[in-house]
């Protein structure tokens, strides 16, 4: 599959709660530019909020890349979260509804996955975590 990126924005730094808000706003702007419906904008921004918080809290901060993508004449928004944190030892467990290693509700990863169309997670203990999500315009 080939993602054709239509913009080459610089990655956003994710190092504080204020950055989480900025990332949400950047994703909202991209979703509006891609003419997503309000519900789809809201789903993508909510998934972004969950994943950005994970990157900050569990990954110790990182970078976020927001891109508009075109594939098969469909427009989408791809958001990638990268951290160099401890990684996720047990991905299956981390993807389980209700499972949490911290103070959350355990809906971060599993909930975010339900809100987007594509969800790719790469992680290894000691090697950090990368999560790529894409939502397509309906």
């Amino acid at each position: 599959m080939s993602h054709q990126s239509t913009d080459t924005a610089e990655p956003l730094v994710l190092a504080s709660e204020a950055d989480v808000v900025r990332v949400r706003q950047a994703v909202r702007a991209a979703a509006v530019a891609a003419t997503f419906s309000l519900v789809d904008q809201t789903k993508l921004v909510t998934a972004t909020s969950e994943l950005a918080r994970n990157t900050l809290v569990y990954g110790g901060g990182g970078r976020v890349l927001v891109q508009t993508v075109d594939r098969d004449r469909r427009r989408g928004v791809l958001v990638e979260f990268v951290d160099e944190g401890p990684g996720i030892p047990d991905v299956d467990l981390a993807m389980t509804d209700g499972w949490t290693s911290g103070s959350g509700l355990g809906l971060g990863l599993s909930g975010a996955k339900r809100l987007v169309d594509e969800f790719d997670l790469e992680t290894a203990p000691g090697k950090g975590t990368s999560v790529r999500v894409t939502k397509w315009k309906r």
């Binding site: 808000v21 909510t46 909930g111």
Partner: protein, 139 residues
Amino acid sequence: MDRVPILKIGDILLVSIQIDLQDHIALALQDDLSNRIVETGASGVLIDISALEIVDSFIGRMISTTAAVSRVLDAETVVVGMQPAVAITLVELGLTLSGVRTALDVDRGLALLKRSAGPVEEEPLEPASPDRTHEPPVD
């Protein structure tokens, strides 16, 4: 530090969240509300989230916890004004805000709080004629 203002109207505390909430502001609001309930003896808390563009699991947990804490402190919480897109997303995310009372807008929320704070003991569930109210039950 940014804080969400809490207004006291009669025996109800009114909160209208008008900013893009950071997690620590949400937590501060939770603490502030608990303290104000005790200080004021408020019987109800109305949280207007009509300006919130998203409710993620963190904010959802804050709302649920606030409702549970206020209940323990003898106050009812009603969340009003949730945008439809937020409601759809919240349910798909896996949050149902169980135990949280909701209403469509501030007016309906206030009516709900007034009803629940009403003089329950003096209002029998089934209408009874005044002269029979104080008679002992037949059975």
